[in-house]
Symmetry: C2
Subunit: 334 residues, 2 copies
């Protein structure tokens, strides 16, 4: 079967290569993939900036497909059904944090950028019926990360004012959609004018270009104070967010793409009882809850027009350029 792999660690050779059909351990299902979405994680792996990269592993954390085979009674019930895959592997028993054995589908374990994948039956969930296979494929990793950051840590509800930074990103998109779905007043920032405009047009209370001078003061003025910031940029901007936060406010962050802040204003933090909360992915209960949430609120993931699997390089270039508005999805041949 065809699959997308890093074939050489030194040269970061991302190639479509032939791979053996996956073996099926006990209690697994064989899924013929219909669509698979890219995450920033795949991009970091493709440019060698991720821990533990191994050549010869099929990339891809997100996928939607049809179950072709199963070797357990539980799995049989899914045969012929369209499913999405929970990319968590070995979260462990503590809902608060992943175990030391935790990994994510698509490195070091073979992932979804292939014609077929075998996964344990407890990793699959029926595709929500209101979603296309492309939309469903775009949901798992980013939706789960957003759900945990927003609800488990941020405790966002209709009474909250939420700020989502870098709203063009995959996780940030879901944070925006989920935050809007519960009725929270939701502000966003982006570094690209066209994304700022789009978010303003789809329900952002206000949208800011973070390259504009004085945008953060304007956001403070417009909002009258933010309760929860969802961030993945990190850097010195964190101190700006601390200034905009309401008392007892929270900054929940799941990345630090602009690096570490040169300081952090602890004085302001302790007097205002502020929280700086790290977050990543989410546990299996949160994955199920996220799927139910998406069904209940009929959330439609925002996706770019899908790209044929053979053109996977184009998809990775889109992430490099960072111009896409929605998730980038690979479509497998029918």
């Amino acid at each position: 079967m065809r699959s997308l792999q890093i074939t050489d660690k030194q040269e970061q050779a991302l190639q479509i290569v032939d791979a053996d059909m996956p073996e099926m351990p006990a209690n697994s299902v064989l899924v013929k993939l219909k669509a698979a979405a890219l995450n920033r994680r795949d991009y970091w792996i493709s440019i060698g900036k991720y821990p533990g990269i191994r050549p010869g592993v099929i990339l891809g954390s997100d996928g939607c497909g049809i179950v072709e085979k199963a070797n357990s009674e539980q799995g049989q019930a899914f045969v012929g059904k369209e499913v999405i895959i929970n990319p968590n592997i070995n979260w462990g028993n503590d809902p608060k944090v992943q175990s030391a054995d935790y990994t994510i589908l698509g490195m070091p374990v073979n992932g979804t950028f292939a014609e077929y994948i075998a996964v344990p039956v407890d990793r699959i969930h029926e595709k929500p019926s209101h979603l296309s296979v492309e939309e469903a494929a775009a949901l798992p990793l980013a939706g789960l990360t957003a759900y945990r950051a927003l609800f488990t840590h941020g405790q966002v509800d209709a009474d909250k004012k939420v700020f989502i930074s870098g709203a063009g990103g995959g996780v940030a998109q879901y944070a925006f959609l989920f935050s809007r779905a519960v009725g929270a007043t939701t502000y966003i920032s982006s570094g690209q004018a066209e994304k700022v405009e789009k978010f303003a047009s789809i329900g952002a209370a206000k949208a800011y270009n973070y390259k504009d001078d004085g945008w953060i003061k304007q956001a403070a003025k417009d909002s009258g104070g933010i309760d929860v910031v969802i961030d993945s940029a990190g850097g010195d901007q964190l101190n700006d967010f601390l200034k905009v936060l309401n008392p007892a406010g929270k900054i929940v962050f799941y990345g630090a793409t602009t690096g570490l802040p040169s300081k952090i204003d602890l004085y302001r933090m302790f007097w205002s009882q502020a929280t700086l909360q790290g977050s990543t992915m989410g546990n299996d209960q949160e994955f199920e809850a996220m799927i139910e949430f998406v069904k209940k609120h009929r959330i439609k993931p925002i996706v770019e027009p899908s790209i044929a699997f053979d053109q996977a390089h184009t998809a990775f270039e889109m992430l490099a350029d960072n111009k896409q508005f929605g998730k980038v999805v690979l479509k497998m041949d029918e």
Copy 2:
């Protein structure tokens, strides 16, 4: 009556001066003070390093005394009784954070370093019977701050491993006593060898001198990972604490006496789902819960031999030298 005030803001002249007897607004009680404890806050005010210092205000947040007069039925029930005073003023309606009107007894409102004080009747609580007036006076501000940091934010219980930095401080002392009382495994650090020894002798699992090379690595090894750090030092040591934290661990801090960290390791924080939580004082419900906790566990505050009110300058010098092991308490004349 005699009272301790900053009489001149420029010269920071801390003097015992004669003051009018306090007036009694509606629903207040007149307390004849028996003992009053110093907090680091009083020291910062005495050296001009606190926001909003005004000359002519009686200092002091902590006090224990006997109710002499009341102008309400509720207050009458306390006449002749020994009470401690809740130093919170206008916390407000949100248990999570103080209101913008919040202040602490002893600046800008007249405080406990005087022969008498009038306070609203809802600020007083009967002195726990197992405490001397000196011990009771030493409890309010620091006990409340420790209670909130440890339990409300840190959620410390018998299963937790807790690290308390700078354990010679007033709040840290209570954090230690309260943490031990619930059965948590409790580690401490201090910069003074004699304090390290004393804490080791009164129940610290291990006590470290933070001036020793490699102490933090030793603490990591001894503890096998810390669940909750209670800190008021801030500075670059925060990154050391992040390394010692267990996954989903928390650093709760109520000060930053060594300044701001030059960076903060966000990468470690998000992957380990760590929390950096600011905290200060506590609400009125927490004050009541803290008093009940002290009664239930028969907590005995650690106090230095008390100092006569006339010798208040000596008490402030003790805080400047930072050699005291327990709280520094002023004893009023009988």
